[in-house]
Amino acid sequence: MKLYEYMAKEVFQQYRIPVPRGRVAAEPHEAEEIARELGVPVVVKVQVLAGGRGKAGGVKFADNPREAKHVADELLKMEIHGYRVRRVLVEEKVDIDQEIYLGITIDPGDRCPILIASSHGGVSIEEVPDKHIVRERIPMQWGLYPYQVRAIAERMGLDGGLGRDFGNIAIALYRLFREKDAELTEINPLVVSGDQVLAADARLNVDDDSLFRHDLPDTEKLSEIEERVAEIGLSYVQLEGDVAVLANGAGATMATMDILQQYDSAAMNFLDVGGGAGVESMTEALRILADTGPRVLLVNIFGGITRCDDVAEAILRVQREGVLRDPLVVRLIGTNEEQGIDLLEEEGITAFRNLEDAARVAAGTPASGGAEED
């Protein structure tokens, strides 16, 4: 789960990571009040969960409270990369001597946290040449030691008080990373302003699978379909095509999408019913897909834990409800495939065993007879 910048900064403050003074506002007049309290020129930043907001015009400066109100009014009407702006963060404007990048994430290759730092901050870390990036793997057993951050500061050319401040922030950030079950936490830029080091931006993405042990506000805004799918414990991604796909397993669902593309067709969605989905959740998943009005509905099930007769039962239920107006293409194989196919055939639905045949029919590319490609 991604936290908004203002929420991430609240967490940062709990860990004594210095951030600019400021507060979040949902209305232009609130932005004006905050600017008046601060009594200095301010920066007003949209709070969205998409990157690249600066380039999209989501960050503006204001010299006085009235201007802050005006700027906030403009920003609160914006939409950035499909996200409607609901809040802005109003903060004191900080003079920048240097911008540093500091992030901690998970290195899947080494199965441990990795600290990444660069003296060339302020831009996306992907754009920084490798020679300006410092990487430090952190063993889970031992954590991050002060000597490690001293060495990193040294390599980045931060000496004296700045090096010490940077080190303290890095240690605090690692503690936060571990205690909050972060997937990623990032300060970009970490700003050197006179003799101060401040987190001008803050990013904190918490591992979804750890949310049961954290008390965090819900920030994800789901679409109506995503909401319905989430209610039955599944995941849904909207795509561009016109073939609704219901398959089991993330890899198999992606492969089904790819095969459609290979036949010059395209999937309308990614909907993985996962392993062991019961009749109820599959029925609801089919209803949801039928409601989206696809050209064709393709069901591709390779039964393992999932049973083909359960899938057939779900299809028949939805058909009896009369919501299934679209042409339906079914491929069933694996656990209880005979029972599943028989159930469907009794109701006049033909199921394929072969994925290639089913995909071709769904894509509207019938087989040209025989094994022409072999």
């Binding site: 057993q141 699978d209 397993g249 890899g251 992606m254």
Partner: protein, 287 residues
């Protein structure tokens, strides 16, 4: 031969009395897997399908000497169960559970490495050496014995490829699901090493997907292998920035995409199939 598991495997089931645990203990036993014992705290003295249950891994291990453990444990408790198994001296852990917190997975892997323990998973369908032993929940009947090693990040897609291979008469030495999470124990390279040293494995089918860099790392290792590798990759049509079910399956900022993985694998000397049913054709060229 085969890799990781065979007819000498004596399996301990952690969470054997649960809904999934008891069901799959029976199925694994029916398949021919030797189940030594089960563990559920507080359920000592019970039996599941003839398998004795103990309170602790330590006691079960002392009484029955298992050499591998499978975990059917709810996600919040996986870390504790894995540490218990590692501490008791088990050398192979198969963690079936999905949604294990990433930080827990990292701690498990750090401890496992320290104790020289091999971990498969989390979020895996398990391992099967057809005709001999299955440690997981895959449908055993799809898998026939033969000369092809199969390694995958994804369950159902693995069945699809196994089915295609076996239909064409190319059976399987061992099939391993390394798990769909971002932090897993044995990765593609670890499994490829095992297959490379296995006398029975004449070719390897690697089933990858978008996200992460595990396939790219595999490609580097494939350069050094004598055993031929055929790959299939899922997620060619997936859009950037959308997570496709698996925790790892997301293309971020141009990294971990289909094109880069395909190129790396081909450069490493692996043939990459465009469609699942092309895998047996390409594998057949090496047998």
């Amino acid at each position: 031969m085969a890799i990781l598991i065979d007819d000498k495997t004596k399996l301990l089931v952690q969470g054997a009395t649960g809904h999934q645990g008891s069901f799959h203990t029976r199925l694994m036993s029916d398949y021919g897997t030797r189940i030594a014992a089960g563990v559920t705290p507080g359920r000592k003295g019970e039996e599941v399908n003839g398998v004795p249950i103990y309170n602790t891994v330590e006691e079960a291990t002392q009484c029955h000497g298992p050499n591998a453990a499978i975990l059917f444990i709810p996600a919040p408790f996986v870390k504790d169960a894995a540490f218990e198994a590692i501490s008791a001296g088990l050398k192979l852990l198969v963690i079936i559970t999905e949604h294990v917190p990433l930080h827990d997975a990292m701690e498990i892997m750090a401890y496992a490495e320290e104790k020289d323990v091999r971990v498969v998973g989390p979020n895996t369908f398990g391992i099967i050496t057809p005709g001999k032993c299955k440690v997981g929940f895959m449908p055993g009947q799809i898998f026939e014995p033969g000369p092809v090693g199969l390694v995958s990040r994804s369950g159902t897609l693995s069945y699809e490829i196994a089915h295609n291979l076996c239909q064409e008469g190319h059976g399987i030495t061992t099939s391993v699901g390394i798990g769909g999470d971002r932090v897993v124990g044995m990765n593609f390279v670890d499994i490829l090493k095992e297959f490379e040293h296995d006398d029975e494995t004449e070719a390897v089918a690697l089933v990858g997907e978008i996200g992460g860099t595990a396939e790219e790392e595999a490609a580097e290792f494939i350069k050094t292998m004598d055993t031929p590798v055929v790959a299939y990759l899922a997620g060619k049509s997936a859009p950037v920035g959308k997570r496709m079910g698996h925790a790892g399956a997301i293309v971020e900022r141009g990294r971990g995409n289909y094109a880069s993985k395909k190129e790396a694998l081909e450069e490493g000397g692996a043939a990459v199939a465009a469609l699942p049913w092309e895998v047996p054709v390409l594998v057949g060229e090496h047998l």
